[in-house]
Amino acid sequence: MKNFGLRTGLLLPALVGISLMAGAQATTTQKATANNAAAEPWKKIPIPPLHDFKPPQPKKIVLENGLTIFLQEDHELPFVDGSILIKGGSRDEPAAKVGLVSLYGQTWRTSGTSTISGDALDEQLAQKAARLETSGGSATTSVRWSSLKEDFDGVFASTLDLLQHPAFKADKLALAKRQMEAGIARRNDDASDIASREAVELAYGPENPYGRHTEYATVEAVSLGDLTAWHDRTVVPNGMIVSLEGDFDSAKMEAKLRAAFSSMRRGADIPALDDRFPAPKPGVYFVDKTDVDQSNVILVGLGTDRRNPDYYALSVMNEIFSGGFGSRVFQTVRTKLGLAYGVSGSFGASYDHPGLFMVDAATKSASTVAAARAMLDEIGRLKTVPPTATELKNAKDQVLNSFIFHYDSPDKTLAEQVTLALYGYPSDFLEKYKTGIEKVTAEDVTRVANKYIDASKLAIVVVGNGKEFTSPLSGLGMVKNVDITIPPPPAGARAIQQ
């Protein structure tokens, strides 16, 4: 079952673990190949064919008003979980009001409805150990709920009440703003947070809907009226996908949902995303942080999206480059050089906009430049050192042999179909992906590496303690000191220290 709602955050620093981030070097892999197979006893262990397994597919229903429903029965436990995704998210909010959708997502549920306050609703649900939460994401907002099946009708009624009669309240908006402003005030405390934020902003650009971030001024600019307007604009059936999973009878559930949603009237579609994504300006972007002994280094550029016919070859390249313990980056930066614990990388692919090509590592101050070099070298080697037959096989095996984990539970197959429907992908995309991966050749990988990878076009973000560096960052390129001073709240705005 999906886990959502409020969580207890625990602080357990004493805990340590191997973090499986990225990861090899072609030569080392070749060494394994050179090894005599007779001395590899694990290869003699029989691997019987996997049982025939047909994952249950959800039932899809599209209402006349455009609302899409997915139903996935799962009778193992007596729960029903539901989700409504609503098109339109933070990427569609005005630049002067960044934070609007997030504030909307929090305030919607905490405010309650015209007949019950959010606080009373909290109490009512807690007594049933049920959950009902709203939230704002980048492409959608959402309502999600979960309860024992005998409580479904009551919780679903509250869900509909929230959808139809929300009562955005000033005190709850103020509370959401306070929390968001606490985050702004603290955003420079942690070096890895600074590095990720700067990398994303550099890659997409500070004005881009994916690159910008909240400021006191943009948060303060959001009014109750903005929340109501957002709700009225986006909560329309043609922008909604309703999905349910759990212990119910699909025919009866379909009838309930039709009764609940059929009368909703269509609204305007969310306009298509502005698809201009200029690449970042190459260079070294440095943030000096005096209280750390480790540098966060991120190399960043633009990735691709999954509609790209090269997506499959890029996925295999990605595995070879950074897909696990055996991957080139992990093998070099962590295993061979011992330069980092956390090292990862990915040529990211989103559904409807370019993902990020990102390689990152956290290394002791003294080895900052060495680690960045090692990462750049590995990126360069993607083009100069074609994958060996072993690397290619390993990468594909890794993707294909773990493929079952895309659909080993009913909630995963449901989530997959919801995502595909949201972005307008064919419902058999996962199968296409599998076939696509199977067909990738070493030549394909080299071709896409040459087409998409250029180390000299990446931005290099370094957040670290400059006085501890042993070689100058300028060895990596032109250095720009990034000012991360947090712009103060606008004059005359509501005092944040209330």
Binding site: P41, D119, V292, N394, Q497
Partner: protein
Amino acid sequence: MFETLYSRFDRISRIDARVPATRLNRLAAGWMLGVLLAAAPLAGRAQDLASFEKRTTVEVLPNGLTLIVCNRPEAPVFSYFTMVDAGSADDPQGASGLAHMFEHMAFKGTKEIGTTNYPAEKVALAKVEVAYTAYDAEFRKRVGQDAKKLTDLKKVFDDAVAAAEEFVVPNAFPQIAEQNGAEGLNASTAEDSTQYFWSMPSNRLELWAYMESTRIGEPVEREFYKERDVVQEERRMRIDSAPIGRLVEQLLATAYVAHPYGRSGVGWESEISQVSATEADAFHKKYYVPANIVIAVVGDVSAATTMPVLEKYFSKIPAGPKPEAMTTIEPAQMAEKSVVIKEATQPFYLEGYHRPDYRDPDDAVYDAITDIFSNGRTARLYRSLVRDQRIAAQAQGFSGFPGDKYPGLFAFYAVPLPGHTADEVETAIHKELDRLKTEDVSDDELQKFRTRSKVDRLRGLDDNAGLAQEMAEYQTRFGDWRAMFREQAKDDAVTKADIRRVANKIFVASNRTTGRIEFTAPAADPAAKQTGAAQ
């Protein structure tokens, strides 16, 4: 955005999700006794003890290793969880971080995996240890250290390391697992235990049994000294370069005077930088004996066909005596203690009170207090500090910190809003604790705790990985995985009087250690500009 901050806690708590030591607050699996089933009928086929007993087989091998196999044939996959009943708390004196170091080494392979020629590699590794011992002896000399000799010995050591590396197939072990479809491959070291886990397609069960049994039974300390560098980076990341990491390490070191819970789990820098492969080997010999290990396998596995495969591989691990129990018990705290870190970081507050270990009859009472103080928007700390007083962005309490096999802490923390201080949130938390001591909690609060613990336990029962973890934990902690189905009875038995009694017993000043970060702008340092404009 606030999410940035929140996600940091969330990230930490997700790591925690792998830690058996913390009691099963939210991710819990387990169900109620039959009696209670009648009181609150939640019909379903996969959720009660009887259903699990039919599908679950336990076997203790002649060497002492405990195996649990639970059949859940929803999809042709399985998850396993290996739990070694030894963790950072068992690090030898002077070698903090060793349990964790060993956990990293468990990914370095075996006599067959990760080597091109084990007999030759073994000889080379022995030379590395001889060279390291000589270097280390000179390095640690307090008087009369010879710089030239040290340099020479370092060279001998470096050369020995390079010679041994010739035989290494780097990362072969995890690579074989990944090529065979391993998902969620990882391990973690807690104060109380060390755990290894992944999921795989079910046709790889025998391959997994071969891999797991050999890496647990006959690990090879290859590439040890390079991995030591990696672990030091992990320390820098989690502790040295993270404001809250620094505070927590100091708070624990202050709260404990005798018990190893006061030592850094990842290791003090001086110790983790000097630990040797010989020490790791000794740790393995002492603690990785079969009698100290429980392995649970859950998924598309039937005991009839699976047990023989597991027996074949895991029986090969040589038996050894279960390590003796720890003698140290943290003495009663005599006076309130505090840690104040003044730096250019936004304020933060954390406090802890010593509590008994998980076997204590009041264990469920602590869970009730956690629920009432922290669970969701109806929780007391949220309502009081976040919603009503408007002084914190987040405030919670939780138990079992940094572990609960031995007496750990009941901790509270709050994230002050801009313009508010650690002192203010401290006062507000103490006011809530005083209320807990002087007034009964409400019927509603107690009922919510019972209902949520019951329903949340149930929610966990449809997940192979989660079930494997729960079963291994309960088998380790109580000697019987069925204990997870008995937890609810304990929760249901908690009374208002219990809560007041326990609160009066432990939430007292002399049992408290507080930790706070106070924002202090660094004078005349340009970095001040970068650390926040809110003050």
